[in-house]
């Protein structure tokens, strides 16, 4: 485990924590961007260059901006006057999340013996990924293209203004 891994992991977890804990939703969206960037660095550390840069393009470039737009369109940065930023059943939610983390952490730590130690760096180029996408994975690629088109049209239709009297 290198020093860089601990640094990036701490950055990612801190960004994620800030994204769910901060009061102002715009600050949450910016912290989420930090978490996404940390994840992209983790992907690069894992020698997955293509996924790392796709993460930067898709998440930091598109999803984070989309979240900021949604926050500004819904005036969501205003903190609610009554209660706080957390739901009435926050204790149950926190307990469920803690239980899930305990379960996952226990499973990971228990299975250490069966996990491989250091493996040689895989020599996979972006060209190999392109060949695989056009060969073995061409059908999923087409389905993803269809899904993205449907999602684009669906999002526009859902968010489009309702006509007067159509209710």
């Amino acid at each position: 485990m290198s020093f860089a891994f601990y640094l990036i992991a701490a950055l990612t977890v801190a960004g994620a924590l800030a994204a769910v804990l901060l009061k102002n939703t715009v600050h949450c969206a910016l912290a989420l961007t930090v978490a996404f960037a940390g994840l992209a660095f983790l992907f690069l550390q894992l020698d997955a260059q293509f996924v790392g840069f796709a993460q930067i393009l898709v998440y930091i470039g598109a999803v984070a901006i989309l979240v900021v737009f949604a926050i500004l369109l819904t005036r969501g940065s205003e903190t609610p006057k009554d209660g706080g930023i957390f739901s009435r059943t926050w204790l149950v939610g926190l307990a469920v999340a803690a239980a899930v983390f305990a379960m996952l952490g226990w499973a990971v730590l228990q299975s250490v013996a069966g996990l491989p130690r250091a493996t040689p760096e895989p020599t996979v180029t972006v060209g190999d990924i392109g060949v695989a996408l056009m060969g073995r994975y061409v059908l999923p690629l087409e389905i993803v293209a269809l899904l993205l088109t449907a999602a684009l049209i669906g999002a526009v239709i859902v968010a489009m203004h309702e006509k007067e009297g159509s209710k």
Binding site: M1, L32, V58, L73, S87, L94, L104, I129
Partner: protein
Amino acid sequence: MTPLTGYLLVAALLFAIGLAGALTRRNAILVLIGIELMLNAANLNFIAFWRYGPHPEALTGMMFAIFSIAVAAAEAAVGLGLVIAIHRHTHTTDLDQINRMKG
């Protein structure tokens, strides 16, 4: 601690943080942020297992992560569109107040 264990623990922690956010926040957009964090944690698992698995040249985990990123982007677009539509209808994104499906 092997490298894979470290990555899996970070992914588990991110998943738990995302789940806690999705379950406890009142703002619908923050719930979507929590869901995005969970999807990213799953992606980190895929990439970590691809890197330290026996056959990285088969690209299975990598492909799964790429398609997962595409599906997550579609999910984010539709989810945020829904939040905007609900806000236009009820003038709130507070999930404690949005408690019926009929408009």
